[in-house]
Subunit: 770 residues, 2 copies
């Protein structure tokens, strides 16, 4: 061996847990719930100040703000990002089936509360395509186009009152935003920021990819300039796709040309600026350039009229009048609002954490939830649709060197200028250009379609979460996708704990390391000792599986063996009684101290089959064949009255030939928590092994699991003895070998007594059930 | 120390995992999915025979049946149990808002398939109160009384056409049973028997107790003889209770007397026979005796007419004509059917397992699901309501010594005789007697109301599951209760993994045992090494929590420290450049090999605050105060072009004063599984600690976790090195001490390079997000 390697030399007494705790002064730790509660509700000036600066982070960062160093950067980055936000906001409003001006409102009002309350400095709240399309579904469902049609005699056709429809839909959008905001604020105040973690990465990526595909499909109609009736509910995306394909012959060529040209330019510029991004002081606001150019071409040349193109239309200037949400609609919106609240928050938090990691600050998850909720709440009175973080805008701010919320203030300014003045000029902008902007931004999302390929190699279960989330989201709808995806990813966690294999372990050569003999060939098994490890929490979903595993790995079912033994004893006794009666006459003169010794070998398999009428099934694993010797030493006892204790119970010795063991060591290192059902199974196992004279040792019990065992009553009288717990498998082995000789007959007496107790307990069968 | 204790003596080289695997011949195990699939679809005669005997257990047990030994027992137990089944079936039909004859059908038809397919020998399928009341809710909702009322001019009142209503409700009941059956058969064929384990014991007991209370409340109207309008949906039970209390003045005294007398007699006899149960050859069929006596008193004396008592009424004799389910109703029934399918199955399985454990056979969960499904399926054509195991009937069979399904055949016979002949005589039986029978049977269920008291002491979380399940079931309704209870008990599992505390560990004296220094006072910490253990799976819901824990326990946030260092370096360099430019003239003649050495002490806290504008919040834990020394040794390098590698990077040394460590050991013994997000966090941590020159060692990695790490790419280039894995914490410590001197400067060079890589990677911020 290499001389360089350190040596592992230990010479100490072996410990069981009580010895160890005594020798090394285990302290008892107390957790005072009362104290904690008191602390929680204590009121003091520093606490109040803390609360204030927690909920209004602006009070912390504003006084420290170094205007000289950072203000210029913030303004430049904010303004350039604002020029991205304006066209994107309008485009996403189309996804939400709302007029483009709604996108401007959504990019303006929510930024005010976030300025004061946000903890991520570079973050710009704003429209997000996935949320927009979820809002769009609700708008179409609650205010379908058909509701606003009236028959126009002059045209001899049904005309839709678009203005009124847009007003109603804006109201619906505001109402939905208000409900979402209330959910977010509620969760934030209840410190439920942690709900975000139930959304696993695999789920989010699957969900986002499906949403991206849905977005792509829903902008196709703008790009091709086709009229497609809106669908909602499951399979809506399929119907829409079919309609679009059917409608392709009616493509509006002018729309398509506008879309293709602006799309191609955008892609090229994006690729170039990505390549040379470190040479640019700030990202090129290509979106606004395209919008301006497209408007400048389409308007003066009167193209929309000539080619019958779908355009943005009149954008009402000025601030909107605030409205109140119509609370009566909340009931039907609840599930969507919940999905929006959670998904929006998760996206926001993920972006915030990425920024925080890059710039070295912390985001407070609960405060982010509150900030987002308040942003949506204020916005809801101005008919915004639900917002979270505006992805590309935030990235633009960050890459242009923005350092604080002043950047988002500048974004607000740009949007406000558009709202108050410039908006009027955007009337002839073709919707197909906005569609192209959306489609190009989907690039990264659609690249994730290759995720399953990589995930499959890394983890089959994570891959299945992705696929389930994707399919549910794509084919059913986005809120369903959230519910199914989250549910499935949590179920997968439960699955994982169920499909853990316990394995037997043996000592590796002369070390104190124990491993699976199927993996390491140089193992030496200790005579009379079985070691089984199990690597999973022990709780309701796998307690029974765990018991079965141990039975399978040890090749011995203690329950059946006890029954078999009892049956054997009963039979023997019956025969004994018969014999005795027969011999009574002949024996009367002989001394009664005569001991009759019998030895009978019974296959455990046969015994089990006696009880197991359901054998022969091909799918069941072969029962383990371990043979049991019953040495029945009868000291000639008289007839027993049932329920009365025998004066001296028969001394029964068991010897197991191919799988002989007197000690079963469970390595519980991998059991990270245990619940009452797990504890119950351990107690039951301890009871039945004890009846058979087998000692059950627990090794490597984690500190927290020990506390749970204690609280759950595992160490109470008659259950597991504390001295059967060991700090390591090797300690347990040493104890097992040390005491293997002295297996007392009294154990069997004890077993016999408990067996009688078992008989008496039978009437509790109904309570036993669970 | 006691001389008796074995000694723990080990002298071996220390290993890291690759050394260990090499030395002891680790085998690579391959799991061939293809083989398994092939095996699954292989077709052969023994396999077919196995399938047959698996799905028709009767083929296994019938040929082995020892008629001589067991037939008499079976017949006696079956007949006595049948006399319990008849009144109970009729009573439970009342709970289901169906005519009493439905209870007879439900106790007859389902037994036929179970005879052939059931794997629990003593089990008698039949009506179960909780299921009956769930069926009752559906019947009332889909066929409310008001639908069958017509105004009768003669009586000047609305009269309900009870016969037609009962017919319709029987149809609904059959339809519901059919849907439930299909769900059960489907789950059984998909081998989804394991869904049962998602129902934790705490949930089931809470659910059953709430259901018991609901049953009690719904039989009160029969006992008091009050008319109460049926309610359904959330809070129905509260409305019903209010109506009953309001209706108390109208109590029908005769009904109440019948109920009280029969109830008291039943309780007394039950208590007596429980006490002397081992003296009775079979349980006294008190239920049928009470029914017969009550009928005999009520009928000839014409009491129902005189006192206007609610009676059982005409029971149609003979077999019912089979009907087809009305599939169109399935949509509204789906959630209830699913609850019925799962709850019924769980009760059945729990009973089956209890019997199996008592008598030493196995029940096959999937086959039980199939058997139950087929029982319901056949029954559904004869308008039964959904059944599972008939609790008290099964217990009666078992305690009377029944050994096989022949007992349930005898139950069938008794029911059939009632259906074909005796039923006619039961017409004058007051419904209040049946109500009393139900109420008395609820005794054990209602005793469970004390569960929370015991659970609270043992496990707060299990207690909360009970309470949530109870409240949801009681106040909302039974299907809601199932959904909420199951959801909550699964969430509790997730909670548990989130609230695990990692803890630091130290060596206990001279042993190889490492424990939390807060618990054991005799610990000695190893210089320069931190050990943190974490006792929970590492997956999406707690990966981030785990990272935070490690940062908190070690008092060092590597991400922030790296940023601080980079900022410091940049500042230094800028000043250097300035200085150099200034000194250029004066230095021109001097040799450029002059080395300028600077030492500067910066508090990490200050550095962190630079990035953390959000400090000062009272609720946040104080950032750890660990001071960092930067020894900046500049060899006078020229101006660096960004992106170009410096010819000789500055040698930066870090020394941590109060919390000095060069190695971080993560004890992963308690990590029982890891998913891709967990792996990602480990890889990221390894990267950032490596940058700081800290080694990250993983100890005690479970075999299955090792496989998951490998598949997830944790050991790929640039990630975690396999040689940083150790079979035990002590091995890792030995290696850490051994190599602590030789921390190479090259590590820092490497760090510097990776830092540059980090800069280049910035454009991937969007992909970084998740």
């Amino acid at each position: 061996m290499e001389p360089d390697r350190p040596r592992y030399v230990i010479d100490r007494p072996a410990y069981n847990l009580p010895d160890f705790d005594r020798e090394f002064d285990k302290k008892s730790r107390q957790f005072l719930v009362g104290e904690k509660v008191k602390k929680l509700f204590r009121c003091s000036v520093p606490r109040l100040r803390g609360l204030l600066s927690r909920h209004l982070p602006v009070l912390s960062w504003l006084p420290k703000y170094k205007a000289k160093d950072n203000l210029l950067c913030d303004v430049i980055s904010g303004v350039s990002a604002g020029t991205i936000q304006v066209p994107q906001g309008m485009a996403f409003a189309l996804l939400a089936n709302l007029p483009p001006v709604n996108g401007l409102y959504s990019s303006f009002f929510p930024l005010i509360p976030y300025f004061f309350m946000g903890t991520a400095h570079q973050m710009v709240p704003g429209t997000f395509a996935v949320l927009s399309i979820m809002v769009g579904i609700v708008c179409v469902r609650l205010a379908p186009e058909t509701d606003f049609g009236h028959f126009n005699d002059t045209l001899n056709a049904t005309v839709v009152d678009t203005a009124r429809m847009n007003d109603v839909r804006m109201g619906i959008s505001g109402t939905l935003a208000c409900l979402t905001a209330i959910i977010q604020i509620g969760l934030g105040f209840m410190q439920f920021g942690f709900v975000a973690i139930y959304l696993s990465e695999s789920f989010i990526r699957g969900f986002m990819t499906a949403a991206g595909l849905q977005i792509l499909i829903s902008v196709l109609k703008y790009i091709f300039g086709i009229k497609v009736p809106p669908y909602s509910g499951p399979l809506a995306v399929v119907y829409t796709l079919v309609d679009i394909i059917r409608g392709l012959p009616d493509t509006n060529i002018a729309s398509l040309v506008f879309a293709l040209v602006s799309g191609v330019i955008l892609i090229v510029v994006k690729e170039l600026s990505a390549r040379y991004h470190h040479r640019l002081p700030f990202p090129i606001p290509m979106e606004i350039i395209i919008v301006v150019v497209a408007t400048a071409i389409s308007g003066p040349l009167n193209l929309p009229k000539i080619y019958n193109m779908d355009i943005v239309g009149e954008i009402p200037l000025g601030f909107p009048a605030p409205i109140l949400p119509s609370v009566s609609q909340w009931e039907v919106m609840l599930s969507t609002a919940f999905s929006l609240a959670v998904v929006g928050y998760v996206i926001n938090l993920a972006m915030g954490r990425t920024l925080a990691a890059k710039h070295g600050y912390d985001v407070d998850p609960n405060q982010e939830m509150l900030a987002l909720g308040c942003s949506n709440f204020l916005g809801s009175f101005f008919m915004i649709h639900v917002i979270c973080c505006a992805l590309s805008v935030t990235l633009a701010v960050d890459s242009a060197g923005g350092t604080s919320q002043f950047a988002s203030l500048c974004v607000m300014l740009v949007v406000m200028v558009t709202m108050l003045a410039l908006g009027a000029y955007l009337k002839p902008l073709p919707k197909s250009v906005l569609g192209a902007l959306i489609a190009v931004n989907l690039k990264n999302t659609l690249l994730q379609l290759s995720d399953p390929y990589f995930l499959w190699k890394k983890s089959k279960l994570d891959c299945s979460v992705w696929v389930v989330s994707f399919l549910a989201t794509f084919f059913l709808s986005l809120p369903y996708g959230v519910a199914i995806g989250v549910g499935f990813s949590i179920l997968v966690v439960i699955f994982k704990t169920q499909f853990r294999n316990g394995s037997t372990m043996v000592q590796i050569m002369e070390t104190n390391i124990y491993k699976n003999p199927k993996v390491y060939s140089k193992g030496i098994s200790t005579t009379g000792v079985k070691i089984v490890n199990y690597c999973s929490p022990l709780y309701f979903a796998n307690a029974e599986i765990f018991r079965q595993r141990v039975i399978k790995k040890t090749g011995l079912d203690p329950g059946k063996l006890i029954l078999a033994r009892r049956k054997f004893l009963e039979k023997e006794q019956r025969e004994k009684v018969k014999e005795e009666k027969k011999d009574k006459e002949t024996r009367r003169r002989k001394p009664s101290s005569l001991v009759i010794m019998k030895a009978q070998t019974i296959s455990q398999l046969e015994l089990q089959n006696d009880f197991d009428m359901n054998d022969g099934s091909a799918n069941k694993p072969e029962p383990p064949t371990s043979y049991v010797n019953f040495y029945y030493g009868d000291t000639g006892l008289g007839e027993q009255v049932p329920g009365q204790e025998p004066p001296s119970p028969p001394a029964v010795k068991l010897e197991f030939q191919p799988v002989p063991f007197h000690t079963l060591i469970l390595d519980l290192a991998g059991v990270c928590f245990i619940d009452l059902m797990g504890i119950k199974v351990l107690i039951k196992m301890n009871l039945s092994y004890t009846k058979l004279g087998i000692r059950l040792y627990l090794a490597n019990v984690q500190a927290q699991v020990y506390e749970e065992l204690e609280a759950g009553g595992a160490f109470e009288d008659g259950n597991i003895s504390r001295s059967n717990l060991f700090p390591s498998v090797h300690d347990a082995i040493l104890f097992a070998q040390h005491t293997s000789g002295e297996r007392p007959a009294s154990l069997n007496v004890e077993g016999e007594r408990q067996e009688l107790a078992f008989n008496i307990n039978e009437k509790d069968l109904e309570q036993e059930m669970f």
